[in-house]
Amino acid sequence: MIRPLGAENRRAILTFPIAGRDHIQGSTDAPIKLLEYGDFECPYCGRAYPVVKAIQRELGDNLCFGFRHFPITTVHDHAEHAAEAAEAAGAQGKFWEMHALLFENQDALEDEDLARYAEILGLNVRQFMAEILSGAHYERIREDFMAGVRAGVNGTPTFFINGERYEGVLDPQSLLAVLTRAAA
């Protein structure tokens, strides 16, 4: 079941557009910009992950995909460390590789799992774990989270297409239809 998104009588607008600070796949010059607010432990985000991948394959260079953290840490015990792991991997140039491993292994997000993923990616594991355990990227994750709150994000995943909130169903066909219209 897909949860309802957004109040109909308030149009949610992205307050901070995708910028250099963001993790993106594709060029910011691409005509279609898709931004996700997500939580690595959220099952709905897990289901959205292959949908986004399919969309990326379909749209190629026409799409710029960005990801911002929106961890609901009080109900998802592993969400904060998972977000820290993505950032710590990002600091070593492997954000998207870690992003993929986390979403593909949502049921294995203990610290020792994170260390194992870092090893798979050939990262400096000691540095990686030190950053996670000290919350080295907390401020950045919080910045993502609050940018989402200000844009009316009320849960995960929430998608924005060229700055406007996507209210539809999360399947490739529905998303693709709206994305294609956004490009026109």
Binding site: M1, I2, R3, P4, G6, A7, E8, N9, R10, A12, C42, P43, Y44, I72, T73, T74, V75, F145, M146, V149, R150, A151, G152, V153, N154, G155, T156
Partner: protein
């Protein structure tokens, strides 16, 4: 049927006269735990975010109280207190707050049921629950901002944050 339609079927919209900007926020004295009570006037001198919601135990990922719990430090940084309120009993609230690790009070508008929701114009007659309604009350006890969300939709926190920032600017001016 999607979740919104299920909610609307369960709780059709009632007649409303929702308190809005400039209205005095009626005081109340409600149970916050099985042996503690809270008055709105206890918070005089600071802004209060009063979040009415229909019932404890709504689904996790899009849950409004869980989201607000996550934003609690920002509400506090803006000088505000956050209070959740529903018609659930104090024991139910206690179990819900423990399960969701909530760090703010949930008040029981339980006996006489829904009286406080009625005072604020957000009780759904016949349904037995309140609207999903937000009130930002200033430090003098006057409503600064209010919003009633479709009952199945988590209204998020952007409206609350803007209202609290306005109040802070007003205070600084």
């Amino acid at each position: 049927m999607n979740k919104q339609e299920i909610y609307e079927n369960m709780y059709p919209a009632g007649r409303r006269a929702v308190l809005s900007r400039g209205d005095a926020a009626p005081d109340f004295n409600l149970r916050s735990t099985p042996d503690q009570w809270l008055k709105l006037s206890d918070f005089r001198g600071q802004p209060v975010v009063l979040a009415f919601y229909p019932a404890d135990w709504s689904p996790v990922c899009g849950d409004q109280m869980t989201l607000y719990n996550e934003i609690l430090s920002e509400f506090h940084a803006l000088g505000a207190a956050l209070i959740g309120i529903s018609v659930d009993g104090a024991w139910c609230h206690a179990a819900f707050a423990k399960d969701r690790k909530l760090h703010f009070p949930l008040l029981s508008d339980f006996e006489p049921k829904g009286d406080v929701a009625r005072l604020y114009g957000v009780y759904r007659n016949g349904d037995g629950v309140s609207e999903r309604a937000l009130f930002v009350i200033d430090s003098e006890g006057i409503v600064y901002w209010s919003y009633v969300s479709p009952i199945g939709v988590n209204p998020g926190a952007d409206g609350i944050i803007s209202a609290l920032e306005d109040l802070q600017k007003r205070k600084a001016a």
